[in-house]
């Protein structure tokens, strides 16, 4: 049974197909509005999530399907000590596909090994969140038209940011990608992420602490939040936190077609003054995320719409 736990579970051609179907849904949503009639998505959210759970649920409803599930472990049998394996075995008899979020890393993989139905990882701790990456990829494709030859700035917490790691993995399979890693020393991209990524043609990394130094050369700027709790001392946090806040001032030298992205939720790392800038794409990412989840559900259920 096919599941998606890691973005690398999907081949480049499968991602192209997912993007193609998502684009078709955007162009003609009515064509897809009944194609999951009679199918049920189980959203098993062992920890709270607003955006991802609602995105999955909206995706399934827009495909004409139904949704069952829970939104926190306290309202599931996990609170009685039931294992992930047992929970998904039971749910397999009620639903056709599972979207699971769990605070423990690897829980969706365990689920996929035990469930008799497809499992989509909707986030497991700080580990993987492949559907966020699918949202990112559709955003890039629609905004830039290609993945090849892009200069991608990754700014903020590159050490713990799972969305950054997954995006690097996904993009490194394309050609001539330049990653510009903008972060304080404390939050640098770990070497293992760089080395574990599939090596595409001419992929390169450049590291800097200074966003303004590099912003003029970027095609994509992927912002993440610099969190206070990641620093060893408060003084370092206070010294650095404003360096990684995007303001209209810092955008002055940026390209006119820069694509500004953020996995959300945002706290203060992108000034609200930028929201109306045509280069701000972070709310479009949310919309594209729903379409990619629709596309993924169709793929995993083996449903094609002609």
């Amino acid at each position: 049974m096919r599941s998606v736990i890691d973005i690398l579970d999907l081949s480049v051609s499968e991602i192209e197909r997912l993007i193609s179907v998502a684009n078709d849904i955007i162009a003609d949503p009515k064509k897809y509005s009944e194609c999951c009639r009679g199918k049920k998505l189980a959203t098993l959210f062992f920890e709270p999530s607003t955006r991802t759970r609602l995105s999955f649920e909206a995706a399934m409803y827009e495909l004409g399907g139904n949704v069952i599930g829970f939104s926190e472990s306290q309202s599931s049998s996990a609170s009685k000590g039931e294992s992930v394996s047992d929970t998904v075995k039971v749910v397999s008899y009620y639903a056709d596909i599972i979207a699971m979020r769990h605070p423990k890393e690897g829980a969706p993989l365990v689920a996929s090994l035990k469930a008799g139905i497809p499992v989509i990882n909707a986030g497991d701790g700080g580990h993987n969140h492949p559907t966020q990456t699918l949202a990112d990829l559709l955003t890039i494709k629609r905004e830039k038209g290609t993945f090849d030859g892009l200069t991608v700035g990754l700014c903020g917490d590159l050490k713990f940011g799972r969305t950054v790691h997954s995006l690097i993995n996904a993009l490194s399979r394309y050609n001539n990608i330049k990653f510009v890693c903008i972060s304080p020393d404390e939050l640098r991209l770990p070497d293992y992420v760089r080395h574990a990524s599939p090596q595409g043609n001419n992929m390169s990394f450049y590291e800097t602490k200074d966003l303004e130094e590099v912003i003029g050369g970027l095609d994509i700027l992927y912002m993440t939040r610099v969190q206070r709790e990641r620093f060893f001392n408060e003084a370092d946090y206070i010294r650095l936190k404003d360096s990684y806040i995007l303001t209209p001032e810092k955008l002055k030298t940026a390209k006119n077609d820069l694509c500004i992205m953020h996995p959300l939720p945002r706290v203060n790392e992108i000034s609200v003054a930028i929201d109306d800038d045509s280069r701000a794409c972070y709310f479009k990412q949310v919309m594209y995320g729903k379409y990619m989840r629709m596309s993924l559900i169709l793929m995993l259920l083996g449903i094609t719409v002609s």
Binding site: S83, P103, K104, E105, G106, A107, V110, H127
Partner: protein
């Protein structure tokens, strides 16, 4: 010290001195009822000192898994008093329940019945990572 030669069996040679008992236990030889010799601190030109394990039977055991513990060991297969095979174990692609994941955020930390499985991600090192959370084995 005399150890009888083997008619049919396995000789695990060039074990790093002091590691013999670990391999002995890993192979479950403490529960094996046949003849086994664990010879410690044998003088070796190449290694200075080494351990050797001799098993007087062609046991069906996963010798390649030994590669995780000590990839430099030599495995000799003896049949009718003749050595028919001699090789270094390859690094196993997966190891199960040999080491435990130390990541407190890993699902194995709360679901006790799950096997602790590590997969080989880099032969240089070598690097093994937890199948579930991808944390590097220590």
């Amino acid at each position: 010290m005399n150890i009888d030669s083997i008619t049919n069996g396995i000789v695990i040679d060039h074990i790093k001195a002091g590691k013999g008992m670990e391999l002995y236990k890993f192979l479950g030889l403490d529960a094996y009822e046949g003849s086994v010799a664990l010879i410690k601190n044998v003088p070796s030109k190449k290694m200075g000192k080494k351990d050797i394990i001799k098993i007087d039977s062609l046991l069906d055991i996963d010798l390649n898994a030994l590669g995780y513990i000590d990839p430099n060991i030599t495995i000799n297969i003896i049949k009718n008093e003749v050595r028919t095979e001699k090789y270094h174990p390859e690094l196993p692609e997966r190891i199960t329940n040999i080491i435990r994941c130390k990541n407190p955020r890993c699902i194995t930390s709360t679901e006790q019945e799950l096997p602790h499985i590590f997969k080989l991600t880099d032969k240089v090192g070598p690097v093994y990572r937890c199948l579930y959370c991808e944390t590097k084995a220590q």
